[in-house]
Amino acid sequence: MSAGGATAGDDLIEFRDVSIQFRRHKVLRGLNLTIRRGQTLCVIGESGCGKTVLLKLVVGLLKPTSGQIFFEGEDVARMSARALVKLRLRFGFLFQMAALFDSMDVYDNVAFGPREHRICGEDQIAGIVARRLRDVGLPPGLERKKPAELSGGQRKRVGLARALALDPEVMLYDEPTTGLDPIMTDVINELILQTQRQGGKTGIVVTHEMRTVAKAADRVVMLFPLARVGRDDPQVIYDGPAAGLEDAADPRVRQFVRGEAGDRLREPTAADAP
């Protein structure tokens, strides 16, 4: 196992000196990160530290202000539109609030990818939808319900089924357990674990939930919000196995893992300004 805790395989995704800012708000600065094939990486950190932005950069939903992101050695930002579509079909993306298409029912949401890319006929699509809904533990009879009629956990599971419909090599999970009760959180964690183990998928899981980290992560990276990072300090404050989080040398990591408010309740001073 590497220092980063990689389980197997070669480099699949590489962030090389990546920075991104929105107007004047800098979110990521000089990020260097390599994700190996077959690895499940959990990205943790406080809200606003750029975790979701990191996920969106991987599939070209956002472009870096500077730096490069490579997938199998190819610069994502320099890909043609056609190559980018092919790349995206190798990814499955579970969005934070599932992002199901409101105007479509559950069946059409899950069938969207195969239907849009005409990978098979309608009979086979029906088979894919049934299998994926069964994989995520949804009972039959939900297919014709609209997303608004589903519970939070059901929506997440439909979102996962939709992401898996094209049988992607890499799964991206954006805060998959946010807003769910503890049991449903564990259900989703188990589904992530099951998805990652079956077929040896590569995965990036962005989460605040330490139970998800403990269950799913081969490797954990913790980002810190740039607003509270010194000009020359790195934004990645932890990169290692999940087991090492509790005893991390950096007190900011231990504070996050334990969920302690610490000095956050005191009045901010001029010294806190970025």
Binding site: V59, L61, V85, R88, F93, F95, A99, D102, F112
Partner: protein, 287 residues
């Protein structure tokens, strides 16, 4: 320096002193130019997708129904009332000159050349434009547009092209509906309420309203429909976060579409007049 002054300096992109009215004006102009450029690129991408790939019928049909069929009643009611109001408002002046039988030509010509297309477009902008911006804005803030992209689908092809085609292809029919209902409304008020002779009313209408006048209105409506779809979809795609952002996008969709309709109406009016005078230099006046 006072806190307020620091904020102004900060907003002026680089500071270096307070922001004057000239700075603000310049910034506003740059922002508007950038906005026009952005809408233009967005429109070109939509047109490019129309040329490259056909939308699926299962995507088109519900959108055509929502935009076209569900707008019929509101457009018909608006057209009817405009015809009736025109009759009521113009009757006394024409009667004073003894020209009330010529009201048919005035009402019907106004309707088919101007009021029918403009009002049908305005109703479409209000009913459909705002709704499209709100729907797409909600999709933006709930990451549904990102989800489409992540699934390898171009959101402009999937979301904008069907709405553009629906507005473009159905607004001529809605315009004709508004024209027809306005003509009927005006005729009913003039002949049944105001007592104008029916034969004279329709004869003057026929003498002055030609097929080309109806065609001009219909052609104008194509431009209005395209403008409504592109402006409204663009506003939706650029929606800010939260309910406030979506609400603002919906409002802007109507306001910008309406201004666009009026601007296009003016430009197309000038263009048509130039063409008309070029081919028919000795055109008689209306009266």
């Amino acid at each position: 320096m006072a806190a307020g002054a620091i904020e102004v300096g900060d907003d002026a992109a680089g500071g270096g002193g307070g922001e004057t009215a000239v700075h603000r004006l310049g910034k506003l102009v740059f922002e508007r130019v950038a906005e026009i450029g952005d809408v233009s690129l967005f429109s070109l991408r939509a047109l490019g997708w129309i040329a490259r790939r056909r939308s699926r019928g299962s995507v088109l049909v519900p959108i055509f129904y929502a935009i076209g069929v569900r707008s019929v009643s509101v457009v018909a009611i608006t057209g009817t009332f405009i015809g009736m109001v025109l009759a009521v408002q113009t009757y006394h002046e024409f009667q004073a000159m003894g020209l009330e039988t010529k009201l048919g030509s005035v009402i019907n010509l106004s309707l088919v050349k101007e009021l029918g297309p403009v009002l049908a477009a305005t109703m479409l902008a209000g009913r459909v434009g705002s709704s499209m911006a709100a729907e797409l804005g909600t999709m933006r803030v709930t990451e549904q547009i990102d989800a489409l992209t992540a699934l390898g689908t171009d959101p402009i092809h999937h979301l904008v092209v069907p709405r553009f085609l629906a507005c473009l292809l159905l607004i001529p029919l809605l315009t004709l509906m508004a024209d027809f209902m306005g003509v009927i409304g005006g005729a009913v008020v003039c002949t049944q309420v105001l007592g104008i002779d029916s034969y004279a009313y329709w004869k003057h209408s026929r003498d002055f309203v030609e097929s080309i006048d109806i065609l001009v209105g219909v052609v104008k409506s194509l431009f209005f429909g395209a403008a409504i779809a592109l402006v409204s979809c663009h506003r939706g795609f650029k929606s800010g976060a939260g309910a406030e952002g979506v609400g603002k996008a919906a409002t802007e969709a109507f306001v910008f579409s309406f201004v666009g309709i009026l601007f296009l109406d003016f430009v197309l009016g000038l263009f048509w007049n130039t063409v008309y005078r070029l081919y028919w230099p000795h055109t008689p006046g209306l009266l």
